[in-house]
Symmetry: C2
DNA sequence: TCTTGATATGTCGAATTTCTAGGTGTAATA
DNA sequence: TATTACACCTAGAAATTCGACATATCAAGA
């Protein structure tokens, strides 16, 4: 995930969750995933292809995503990903985890004195 | 940083910020830093020694922390760290960055449909 | 007295993730 | 015709963290 400057350093481990979330909204192909992440995050996140495709393969290998070749609206071949049941569980688990973590970070950053 | 189960996977890149924040509250030695992080985060974060000490050396090498050997309250030798001016700037920058990132993640996770 | 646990520092190697940089090919547009 | 957008991919380097190990002091209790 590449930042305008140095946002990437913060996101290790988060990319998979974001991808799962995007794919959970409905089947999409890789290229579109990176576009949506960038768009929804208002350009804060820019997922590089060198991060994206390995992540997709990783998630597929773990059985969290499944892929299928289909045609895009523009009539091109692309690999469409969907979330498996296992992937949905994983996403829920990671989201709970994320809440807990950001809560804990907030506790520390919010400590005065 | 070690989790009860798998919280660590989420925090790559965050440890340095948390350490800077703890040290910014006043000089402390490494062992106490890990205890405070664990305590304030209510056991969500448990910083392993194999993560802590390399991180402290890293921050010192970057000129963000400075160290000094002193005695603890219990009369033992320990290396006390304080934040340099550069470290304070870095902390502020990382905190702003953190807000931006968590905001962007919230946008994505909060997207319905 | 001896052992255990807490305090306190550190290193090393493996694992994981991400980035940069490169590569392939098609279709539309200038 | 050349460039841009689309769409896939890999390889190597860099960075961070973890688990395990190693060392040493001190206090409390068996």
């Amino acid at each position: 995930m590449a930042p305008t400057d140095n946002k990437s350093e913060f996101l290790k481990g988060t990319l998979d969750m974001l991808i799962l979330k995007i794919v959970a909204m409905g089947p999409v192909h890789g290229y579109a995933i990176s576009q949506r992440i960038q768009q929804i995050s208002k350009d804060i996140f820019q997922v590089q292809q060198g991060s994206l495709y390995p992540a997709l393969h990783r998630l597929e290998d773990r059985g969290l995503l499944q892929a299928e070749w289909r045609n895009t609206e523009t009539g091109r071949e692309a690999k469409f990903y969907s979330v498996t049941r296992k992937g949905r569980h994983q996403l829920e688990s990671e989201m709970r985890n994320w809440e807990q973590i950001t809560g804990a970070v907030a506790l520390i950053l919010g400590t005065a004195e």
